[in-house]
């Protein structure tokens, strides 16, 4: 089945098991507007993988129910789509999509600001282009949610945001305007010519100094809040006598949010020694750390596990050269087997392929020691967990966003095509890819 066939049911389409007590029906008031029927449905949720199942989508763009076709009532008039395989819309945990554009030229390359090594105040929100051609291209493989933003390559390069791959403006696409602060501990963020950071040790010293400055700012804010409360408590308090707040600074404020664990810090580190530095920093400042890239994570499994840190692993087909020379197709499987939460990212590519496709990257993991289910988890529910959006996306469960991908067979097979993509209940791609 290589094309998307949409039908409208002309009544109760599936009467096989209409014993009312057993049949799954929509909660009262919810209107199913789309039914997607899969010969195999990977829910990636508690319902597991169900053969011959249906996903009902309500008119709010949410999943109304997921259940076996035989015991599900599809309301009359519902548009239905049949597919061999249905999965949740895929979730890319780390990308520069929409910032690093198809032409790779000045006018569409906003993934890395090189004017200073530490700029957490750079919002991905101000740089993401939902009209970038690679957005629709990526979506056509079944990717529906992407954590994208500033690339690795500076000590602190900026923020990431989470978007759905729909909407004509960034506001329409945004799921979370700031999702991570992106940092890099590796030679790719080092400077020549006497500029800092020029060494790995200097990278750490600079990061520690920024975080200590943020601790002081946080203290000053707290002290100001206390003084203000005391001032207001006075019966004769005059506004002009109110204590002055510390001066605002976007950079420091971002680091305060990191210290408060309101935002995770994603540290790109490939060599084991850089991974160790990231873990050291986490311990000192009690950060909410996400290891990004993490080429040599397979040699640091115990340390990563003890730190309770998730890994957003490099794309499997990343070139094995320089600091990534020890990349292995089997790293994802190793991390998963050790109980570490792992997502597979598309990452940033300087040249080609300009946008990597996580479906194709996870396929390599599925062929190298990871089960089909686990490999699918790295680009659905586990990616959503790491991004803390698993209450909305990443699995097919009632109440979650109706984001689905449909395939002509095993999603990981080279020759399988993605035949349709749905985001928030809307068909956003119907050309076979």
């Amino acid at each position: 089945m290589n094309t998307l066939i949409i039908r409208h049911t002309s009544g109760l389409a599936h009467r096989a098991a209409l014993a009312v007590a057993l049949s799954l029906t929509l909660a009262s008031g919810a209107l199913a507007q789309l039914a997607i029927i899969g010969e195999r449905v990977f829910t990636m949720g508690p319902a597991g993988t169900i053969d011959n199942a249906v996903v009902l989508i309500d008119d709010k763009g949410k999943i109304a129910l997921v259940g076996p076709l035989a015991s599900t009532t599809i309301p009359a008039g519902t548009r239905t789509i049949n597919a061999k395989v249905v999965t949740p819309g895929l979730v890319d945990a780390r990308s520069t999509l929409g910032l690093s554009g198809i032409t790779n030229s000045r006018h569409d390359s906003d993934q890395l600001e090189r004017s200073a090594p530490v700029q957490p105040e750079l919002r991905a929100l101000d740089a993401y282009n939902p009209q970038e051609p690679l957005v629709a291209f990526t979506r056509s493989f079944g990717i529906t949610t992407v954590n994208t933003g500033h690339a690795p390559g500076e000590l602190v390069s900026g923020q990431t945001l989470i978007v759905k791959l729909r909407g004509e403006t960034v506001d329409a696409a945004t799921v979370r305007p700031t999702s991570m602060v992106a940092a890099t501990l590796s030679p790719q963020a080092l400077k020549d010519g006497g500029k800092s950071p020029g060494t790995r040790a200097k990278q750490m010293a600079m990061l520690r100094a920024e975080l200590i400055k943020a601790q002081e700012h946080r203290r000053a804010m707290k002290s100001h809040a206390d003084k203000l409360a005391a001032h207001r408590a006075k019966p004769d308090a005059k506004p002009e006598d109110a204590p002055k707040p510390p001066e605002r600074n976007l950079r420091t404020e971002m680091f305060v949010r990191v210290l408060e664990r309101e935002l995770p810090i994603a540290i790109t580190a490939h060599r084991a020694q850089d991974i160790a530095s990231a873990l050291r920093l986490k311990e000192e400042f009690e950060l909410d750390l996400i290891l990004d890239g993490a080429c040599e994570a397979g040699t640091m499994i115990e340390q990563i596990k003890q730190a309770g840190v998730p890994v957003v692993l490099h794309p499997m087909m990343m070139r094995a050269v320089g600091e990534t020379e020890n990349a292995s197709f089997e790293t994802a499987a190793k991390l998963k087997a050790a109980g570490i939460t792992v997502a597979i990212q598309s990452g940033y590519e300087a040249y080609v392929p300009k946008a990597r496709i996580i479906l194709l990257e996870a396929a390599i993991a599925a062929a190298n020691g990871m089960s089909q289910q686990d490999a699918l988890a790295t680009i659905t529910i586990d990616a959503a967990r790491i991004l803390r959006i698993d209450s909305r996306v990443g699995s097919l469960e009632p109440g979650k966003d109706a984001d689905l991908a449909m395939y002509s067979g095993d999603p990981f097979e080279y020759t399988t095509r993605c035949i349709g993509v749905v985001i928030d209940g809307q068909i956003v791609s119907d050309q076979p890819r």
Binding site: T96, S100, G101, I102, T103, N104, S105, R106, H107, S109, L112, R114, P133, L134, T138, A151, P152, G153, T184, Q188, L190, T268, G293, G298, T299, M317, R319, A320, V321, G322, E323, T324, E325, N326, A327, S328, F329, E330, G347, Y348, E349, A350, Y351, V352, P353, K354, A355, R356, I357, L360, A363, I364, A366, A367, N368, E413, Y414, T415, T416, R417
Partner: protein, 476 residues
Amino acid sequence: MVAFALALMHGVAGAQAQETPVAFTGARVIPVDAPEIDAGVVVVHKGKIVAVGPAATTAIAVDAKRVDCAGKVIMPGIVDTHSHLGGIAGADGSSTVQPDVRVMDSINPADSGFRRALAGGLTTLNIMPGSGHLLSGQTVYVKLRAVPGAEPRDGVVVRIEDLAIRNADGTIAGGIKMANGTNPMRDAPFSSTRGKHAAIVRQMFIDAQQYARKLAEATAPDGTVNAEKAPARDLGKEALGKALSRSAIIHHHTHRADDIATVLRISEEFNLRVVLQHVSEASLIPAQIKEAQDAGRVLGCSVILIDSPGGKLEAVNLNYDTGRILDEAGVLVCFHTDDWITDSRLFLRMAALAVRAGMKRDSAIKALTINGAIMMDLQDRIGTLTPGKDADLVILSGDPFSVYTKVEQTWVEGSLVFDRSRPVDRLHAVGGWGAGRDQEPYFCCFGSGSFAFKGQQYQFGGGNSAATDAADTQAK
């Protein structure tokens, strides 16, 4: 880094295999020039294929070593018409045309990339210099063959001469690498417009024609050259002479449809034999390419399929359909890795993605084997499992186009050169400590940096790329 060097340790491998016939039995055999055979037999002896056929009708010598391949798939060794393996560097920054430069003089045979290529089932490569010049040098055709004595870590150095394929006259085989479009657009002493590029290339060939004429005038009918009348020896013009006499194939990097048309125009003017390489927009002009192929000036298209389009302006129309469209138009199609651009270990995947986009499976298999051989003038020696041809074959665990299929063994000229069950080979197949490269790749347009072109600033790199800091590699 382990040496690129091959097996003697297995019973059937190495030099002995040349003396004792080896019979591969029970596999689904894809001969390429004949229908697939279920439970077929392939017999090799002294480096050549001696028999291919169904088990019932294919004789196996009593003394033959049998390799049980039940449940496996056997196909010819895979041919890559465009590779940059070996840490190569061809032409330098002194000029945009350098036909005197041979890439064979820059290859490091110890590069781990060669082992990884074997892990992908590749047996024959066209190793080329980069695309940052209009003409970046002479290419070399190599076999990743077993070299007796060169066991990993024993210190035996393999030379490019051991790997090179020889012409009938004993010279080393290869073509000429040319490029047009944006990659060779650079500051002086290079040039940066398409019109100038074409003019430079035409004058280059005209000069080579004049050189060849003078040399012919100075040569007596018996072949003796009058040294006083002959022009001073010119290595570059000698190389171009081979292209003008149609004995050397020009492998031409070209993306945009108008750039492809320019290659066709120049190949007509000088009656060249050209393989169109990359061809992101060939699907826009298949009929014109077919016409040039029928006229004998284009051998075919060597297509690259990248997971997503773009990376530079002239590749924004790159797509998965090019192989199918050209094949349906009757254009000979092969694929290439362009390794480092794509990974030799996953070369089968490229053809599989073309099948995903509707290319016929048979055509996609040919595009990995015989069609590439044709585009290197090697079709009489490799590319199919045919008695008399080199015993280059790949044993796969399953369907060639499944993601789950593994290359289990690779054989070159009757010797086992990759065996996934051997730790050193498995390491290079899946990666891990010791399998990669601690040095950045070299060739045009990979790395970071920027250049100005027509008022627009273009940039490469700047982010989470292993080669981010290789700023100086750009277009050198």
